[in-house]
Amino acid sequence: MTTTSSNRIVINTTINGEPIEFLADMRDSLLEALRERIGLRGAKEGCNNGNCGACSVMLNGRLVNSCCVMAAEIEGAEVTTIEGVASAEGLHPVQQAFLEEAALQCGICTPGFIVATKALLDEHPHPTEEEARFWLAGNLCRCTGYDKIIRAVLSAADTMAK
């Protein structure tokens, strides 16, 4: 991390497995840095205060709201965003399940839900409906009533168990 003369800093970090160096404002949140400095716009700003989960990313292996992380904090860290969930071979089973279960309507909350769901299944491969709903309570969806999202989560868990 190098501080420049202004309020700018050079940040070295790893995003989706790739080492990256970028210039940020010291006031930038991780979400702002991803979207406006780096150009990864899959994480969305829904509320900017940790109450909607649209900006969910993984920071050092843990689910966080990127609006509640300062960009400068990711110096030397590892970040995974929605853009890093699918592999060259294809979609992640969680993504496939969201498609098949029609678990999205407008799609704005979808990146956050997929990152959060993957985090859930990585930690609890066989969640009950209740556990899935509790884990995802910080991710707001206004279109679906959550029904098909929860079905997709449980279906992805089944697929991944096979």
């Binding site: 991390m1 309020n7 800093i9 010291m26 006031r27 930038d28 949140s29 900017n48 205060n49 940790g50 109450n51 989960g53 969910s56 920071l59 843990r62 689910l63 966080v64 709201n65 609006c67 509640c68 992380v69 300062m70 400068a72 904090e73 110096e75 959060a116 985090a119 859930l120 509790f134 884990w135 995802l136 309570a137 910080g138 991710n139």
Partner: protein, 287 residues
């Protein structure tokens, strides 16, 4: 976001130095889930964030015979996810498990929850009944501050310029002790407590030998309700003694009317939650 700078401290001493030089507008950055939002929404004047998460002591958690020490930067998920804590400090596990959503719990800390000094803070009633003590480092060395004396009003605490919480210590609880925590919120997650409560009971057979009761969101700071504890201590635990404790809790509550709850609702819930936490703590004490 207001104009602020970010600095990373590698040691407790360095953090103290940075905070002292930064003056009153320097602020510790641990989980950041409160302070980042406060800086963005200009609700607190913050010009410097001192990131303490690269200090080993701040990030460590240890269970010893004398008690449990949790670094001020340890995120909530590590606390409620620890089987020992869930067993021995149930009130702490229960409260940390529902602060914010999962993503908030990946970052938020009890050090931050305490320092933020919200009257509705979820972990503070648990800290009160567990007898938690904060270890504070500052320009004049270290001092210990009981959780019950830490907050001085809404959003304000005893920390002086240059000071910060390094860790929080939870003394080992006597045998046959149970604790419980509960809050009421309108939704099932993601709300600020309308009222929250915690209880600790030590039992000898059916007799309560020691009781502690705390209530949140019903006064400018979390209440340690001596009268409710007195209604239980030294007596067999009965419906009548529990009811007396609940009445004492209701009487002690001096809440305000705001968008999150009314006076009537909060006073009533004080009794309900105190009764519920007493009963659950008692079950655990007997187990």
């Amino acid at each position: 976001m207001q104009a602020l700078k970010y600095a990373r401290a590698a040691s407790v001493d360095e953090a103290v130095k940075m905070l002292r030089e930064g003056g009153p507008t320097a602020r510790v950055l641990a989980g950041g889930t409160d302070v980042i939002v406060q800086a963005r929404e200009r609700r607190r004047q913050i010009e410097l964030f001192v990131d303490i998460k690269h200090i080993d002591e701040v990030m460590s958690m240890r269970m010893e015979p004398r008690g449990l020490t949790i670094g001020a930067g340890v995120p909530l998920y590590k606390i409620y996810g620890d089987a020992q804590i869930a067993r021995h400090y149930a009130a702490l596990a229960e409260s940390t498990r529902v602060i914010g959503g999962t993503a908030i719990q990946g970052r938020a800390t009890i050090g931050g929850n305490l320092a933020n000094a919200s009257p509705a803070a979820d972990s503070i009633p648990a800290l009160f009944v567990l007898g938690a003590v904060a270890t504070v480092a500052g320009p004049n060395g270290r001092r210990e501050v009981p959780a019950t004396q830490f907050c001085t009003g809404p959003g304000v605490n005893v920390l002086l310029t240059g000071e910060f919480i390094v860790s929080i210590f939870f003394p080992a609880l006597p045998a046959h002790t149970g604790t419980a925590w509960e809050r009421f919120i309108p939704r099932n997650e993601m709300d600020i407590a309308v009222t929250n409560a915690a209880a600790m009971l030590t039992m000898n057979g059916e007799t309560v030998t020691e009781a502690r009761i705390a209530l949140g969101a019903v006064a400018p700071r979390t209440l340690y309700v001596e009268a409710a504890a007195a209604a239980l201590a030294g007596k067999p635990l009965t419906d009548a003694s529990i009811a007396a404790a609940a009445v004492a809790a209701r009487d002690a509550a001096t809440p305000i009317d705001d968008m999150r709850g009314s006076i009537k609702q909060r006073k009533h819930l004080s009794g309900v939650l105190v009764e519920r936490t007493i009963r659950r703590a008692a079950e655990r004490a007997r187990a």
